[in-house]
Subunit: 360 residues, 2 copies
């Protein structure tokens, strides 16, 4: 079996608004015994991609091919691969490697590895000078641990965004107790939040969608929300004070956010978990804001392999699909995706398809 050294994909040479994508060849990581080569069929567009190619997150390693909600087929597997079979439909998310040996890796916290964490794009494969490249490309190669079999019940196009947006909200939901008897809120009904509503409901919780206006109420209820809160309405917080066990804040902006009001929704030691990564300068928090209910504030980073497999099974068992708009792979399709994502003009996620047309 021969493993190629390069693949073809769409790179951005520098951040821009709008950004320009260029089709070209670039290096894959040197092949390892545990590596899987994946021929890509589709890839979702994540807020991180937009932040990266439009410059909102500052310095990154360019030229860069972004995209980390990847679905494809395993076309070659290394001699020691046991988790993935050749030909299998698989997914890859926002990380592609960790040390596998530290305390964090051993305790199902591999996405928090402090030793050797490789992001799907923009990280150097140690000692090679090769920068990892994402999913708007023909192929990707990585360690089997970071490759996830996709259940047959889940269509490629709608499962793709689960690999990052989905796991980003699934992990804090399960880690912080979403389930029967718990009142769970999802702030921000977008790419991440719409999965939050579905998953929290499937896990058995009482789910409240929390949005600025009521524009998305009908859709939120269709996704599974038991209740809806519109924060533009006077006194919105009052009936819910001290009642939520968990709120996952999926909003992608913190502008104009009255955090103290949101925190007043939490029951004693309730968890306010942020998974959005706003570009703004952060929120001022005083210990006094946290005292009246002993609320815990946190953030969360993706989810473990075990959680990824559990999430895909939950989605398959409950027939859950991401709500996506399809755009075609290419300079124009990628640019349109980034521009429209930046404006919030998508319900609720783009999946880039049409790889066959570009790469044959």
């Amino acid at each position: 079996m021969s493993f190629p050294a390069e693949t073809e994909g769409f790179q951005v040479d520098e951040p821009g608004n709008p950004p320009d994508f260029h089709k070209r060849s670039f290096k894959l990581k040197p092949v390892g015994d545990h590596d899987v080569d994946i021929k890509i069929d589709a890839c979702g567009v994540c807020g991180s991609d937009v932040h990266t190619v439009t410059g909102g997150w500052g310095q990154q390693k360019f030229p860069l091919c972004v995209g980390h909600e990847i679905v494809g087929h395993a076309v070659r597997v290394g001699p020691k691969v046991t988790l993935i079979k050749e030909g299998q439909r698989v997914g890859v998310g926002a990380q592609v490697y960790s040390c596998g040996e530290c305390k964090q890796c051993r305790e199902d916290n591999e996405t928090y590895c402090q030793v050797n964490l490789i992001n799907t794009y923009g990280s150097e494969w140690p000692g090679t000078g090769i920068i990892s490249q994402g999913g708007f490309a023909s192929h990707i190669r990585t360690h089997e641990w970071w490759v996830f079999p996709i259940p047959d019940a889940l269509p490629t196009k709608t499962v793709a965004p689960m690999l990052c947006a989905g796991i980003t909200v699934y992990s804090p939901l399960v880690r912080h107790g979403a389930g029967k008897g718990k009142k769970v809120g999802i702030v921000g009904i977008g790419g991440i939040g719409h999965f939050g509503i579905m998953f929290a409901k499937a896990l058995g919780a009482e789910v409240w969608a929390i949005s600025r206006s009521r524009a998305k109420e009908a859709e939120a209820r269709k996704l599974g929300a038991d209740g809806f809160i519109a924060t533009a309405e006077e006194g919105w917080e009052k009936p819910h004070r001290c009642t939520f066990d968990l709120i996952v804040n999926c909003a992608n902006s913190s502008a104009g956010f009255d955090l103290a009001k949101y925190l007043s929704l939490m029951d004693v030691h309730g968890r306010w978990m942020s998974v959005g990564m706003p570009e703004e300068e952060g929120t001022v928090i005083k210990a006094q804001n946290l005292v009246s209910n002993g609320v815990l504030i946190g953030a969360s980073h993706l989810g473990s392999r075990r959680e990824m497999l559990d999430m895909l099974k939950l989605a398959a068992d409950h027939g859950l699909e991401g709500v996506v708009e399809e755009l075609k792979l290419g300079e124009e399709g990628l640019k349109e995706a980034m521009v429209r994502m930046k404006k919030g003009d998508v319900r609720y996620r783009f999946t880039i398809t049409g790889y066959d047309k570009v790469f044959g």
Copy 2:
């Protein structure tokens, strides 16, 4: 049995630096069937008292008698009292009433009651126009639930500060898992923090005292610290990155605090709990600061009756005593306590004694 309507104590008429105390009579709450009257023997001086009488916390209801680390003897008990016996040595902390019926009260979270929470001083007893008054007084009267029998092994003078400073750090320690196999940090070795070191050690944790300089290292180790971190030393955080399960921040000021460095100490989903109430404007927190280890940030408010009794038993079983300096009750003693507390000139807590000399 006759219950008096008034008691005598030392009130401040308005915030001042230094504040002036005036001895006079004021009303006790109307007696209830579950009330206990306590003749006070000693009372610790808490940071809250200083913030209140020097004006750092803004509007309060003056004239006011502060003090909420009260030890005395139950001299009269109402007809329905079952938790306290007449003559018993008892303590009262920073709260004296909650509704007792809401979800929070029923779940051992009565200090977080949102319905009817009465602080030991400065709250109105509902419908009476009477403002609750604290422990620099001859007597205090309140509901038996908020009166705690003191084990014989604990001297009055050294147990007094446990009623607020002690429970303030004990509750987050036990609620957030301090115990065998856990690495626990205590930031700020003062009135609250010195109890934190003792209690965390007694609970079985590996305890690290975290202070600016090494000035308090010997004392911290004597209190039970297994290790000591001086944050004025370059690179202090590096050897401890991602290793702490719990840190309780007992510092009373957030000035010059590089929170991101402290948070980098936490293991995945470690808890950073603040119990100090700085007068400053708060800390800017970005979700990005919380992501690399999924740390949870929170605060905590006192502790339940059950925790208060557990803490007193732990202290009695382990022979733990607050490290206190004694000052005598009176205009001068109280003023000196407030002025020196404000400067941090106390190791580690003042207890005001000599009540017999003043009130007979």
